[in-house]
Amino acid sequence: MKKAFFASPAYRSAKSRAFFIAVCLFSTAAMAPLFLILWELVEKGHRQFRPELFTHVAPTSMEAMLARISGEAIPGGILNGLTGTLTVLTIAILMAIPLGIWTGIYLAEKRGMLMARLVSSLSDLLQGMPSIVVGVIVYVWVVRPMSSYSALAGGVALAVMMLPMVVRSTEESLKMLPVSLKEAGLSLGGSYMSVVLRILLPSAFSGLFTGALLAISRVMGETAPLLVTILGAATVNWDISRPVSSVPLLIWEFYNDPNLVGLIWASSLLLLLAVLGINILAKSIASKWKIQ
C-alpha cells in the first residue's frame, strides 16, 4: 500500500514540482546580492551621480565638510581617479594582451609538451596569487628602482594579474578550433606564421576578445596592488612616471575620510556599471561573432 503511494505518478510529479521550485528559489537567492548591491548604490549614490562626477577632481576634506554642514551635495567628482584608471588600464592592456596571446598560442600548439605544461601550471599559480603580493613585488621591481610611485608601476601590477586570464582564454579558444582548419591552411602551402595569423587567430577572435574584456573588467576594480604602486594623486596627471589615482583607490580614500564618505556610493555605482557594461559587451560579442 505504502509502496504503491511512492510509485504513484501523482506523488512523483509533486516531488518533481517541489524540486523545480527549490531550484528556482535557490537561483533567485543567488541573484539577490547583486540586485541588493545595485539598489543600495543607486539609492545612496544617485544624488552624487551627476555630470560633475566626470568633470571635477575629488574635493578636499574641508570642501566636503562645508557642503555637508550646509546640507548640500558634496562638490567635485572623481576625474583624477577616472583618468588614472584609464592610464593604468591602458598600460596593463598593452603589456598583458600581446604577451598573453603569444603565450596562449604556444600553449595551444605545444599541448602536452613538458615546457608547455610547466608554463601552464605557472600561469595557474599566477592567477591564484594574492593581489597584494603582486603589488608588493611590483613595488620592489618598479617603484624602488624608479624611486617614485607611478602609473607605470600600477600598469605592470595589473598586467601581471591580467596575464594568466588572457593566456588561458587564448589557449582555450584556439584549442576549440578544429585541427582541420590548421591542416587546410598548411595544405594550401601557407607558412606556419601565416596560418596562425591569418586563419587561426581570426577564427578564434571572438574568444580572444571576450577573454581580454573579461580580464580588463576583473582588474578594473583592483585596489590592493594599486595602493602600493600608484599611491594616489589629487590632480589629473597624464605622466606615467608620476603617481596617479584610480577609481577604486579613491573609494578607499573616501572610506577613510568621514567627510567624503558620501562620494563612495556614486563612485562605486560607476565602477559597477562599467564592469557590468564590459561584461554584457563581452557576452554579446561571444554570442554574435561565434564561428559555426
Partner: protein, 258 residues
C-alpha cells in the same frame, strides 16, 4: 639523385612506411606509381592506412611528433623530402573529409586563401579571374556568383566541399589529394562531387581515398587495395573489380569482410 625515377609518372611512392611511434607500421612499404590525368582510388577497410598514406604525400605527418615516414615519394620526378614542405603542399593540394572553409573568410576570400597564405600579390582583375575560373571548375559559380561576399560557412555541406575543392584548385596544383571527400555529404551532393572529379581528370591528377567501393568503381581509373597497412593490389579498377589477383581483395570486394 640515387634513385632513378621515371618522369612519365607524376607521383611515385617507393617503399613508403609510416609509423605512429612504436608498434606495427600504419603504412608498410607501399610502392606505386600514378600517371598524369588519372583518378586513383585508395580503398580498404577502416584503419588500413588509406588516409595515412595520402597524408604522407603532402607531408602533413610532419606536424605531429611521434609520426615518422620512411621511404621516398617523388612528385614529378623530384623527392618531396628534398623540397620545401610549403612547396610540396602547394603542388599536392588536399581536400579533407569534412568541408572546412575558413570561417572568417567570404566565399571570395576562401577561394583566394591560398594566394594570401603564400603572400602572392594579385591585382583585383586577377583575383576576380581566379575566383571565377576556380568556382566554374567546381560548378559552383552559378550558385554563388551573387553572394561572393557571404561567409563560406553559410553554404550547404556539398557546396562547402566544392568551395574547398575550388580553394585548392585556385593554386593550380599538380596533384589533387582527396581524403574521403564525400563521406560527410548527402547522396545528391556526393553525385555532384563525383561528376566533378571525372571532369577534373582532364586537367588534374587525382588520388582519392574512399571507403565506398562503388564510388571507386564509378570514378577511378586505377585502384589500390590496402589491408593492415600493406598495399595488397594495385591496378586498373576494372580489372580489380572483375578479376582480383589476391584472395583478400576478392573477399573485401564481395563483402566477406571490411
Amino acid at each position: 639523385m640515387e634513385n632513378t625515377v621515371n618522369t612519365d609518372y607524376i607521383l611515385e611512392l617507393k617503399d613508403v612506411s609510416v609509423s605512429y611511434g612504436g608498434g606495427r607500421n600504419a603504412v608498410d612499404k607501399v610502392s606505386a606509381s600514378v600517371s598524369p590525368n588519372t583518378v586513383t582510388a585508395i580503398m580498404g577497410p577502416s584503419g588500413c592506412g588509406k588516409s595515412t598514406l595520402l597524408r604522407a604525400i603532402n607531408r602533413l605527418h610532419e606536424l605531429y611528433r611521434d609520426i615518422t615516414t620512411t621511404g621516398d615519394i617523388f612528385l614529378k620526378g623530384q623527392s618531396i623530402f628534398r623540397m620545401n614542405p610549403m612547396m610540396v603542399r602547394r603542388l599536392a593540394g588536399m581536400v579533407f573529409q569534412r568541408p572546412n572553409p575558413f570561417p572568417t573568410m567570404s566565399i571570395y576570400g576562401n577561394v583566394l586563401a591560398g594566394y594570401r597564405l603564400n603572400n602572392i600579390p594579385l591585382s583585383k582583375a586577377e583575383k576576380d579571374c581566379v575566383v571565377e575560373k576556380s568556382l566554374r571548375e567546381v560548378n559552383l559559380w552559378d550558385e554563388v556568383k551573387d553572394s561572393l561576399g557571404k561567409k563560406g560557412t553559410f553554404l550547404s555541406g556539398g557546396q562547402q566541399q566544392r568551395l574547398c575543392i575550388a580553394r585548392t584548385l585556385a593554386l593550380r596544383p599538380e596533384l589533387l589529394l582527396m581524403d574521403e571527400p564525400t563521406s560527410a555529404l548527402d547522396p545528391i551532393s556526393t553525385a555532384r562531387i563525383e561528376e566533378l572529379i571525372l571532369e577534373l581528370k582532364k586537367e588534374y591528377t587525382i588520388v582519392i581515398v574512399t571507403h565506398n567501393m562503388s564510388q571507386a568503381a564509378r570514378i577511378s581509373c586505377n585502384s589500390m587495395f590496402m589491408y593492415l597497412g600493406e598495399l595488397i593490389e594495385f591496378g586498373p579498377t576494372k580489372q580489380m573489380f572483375t578479376k582480383p589477383k589476391d584472395k583478400r581483395t576478392e573477399d573485401y570486394l564481395t563483402g566477406s569482410f571490411g
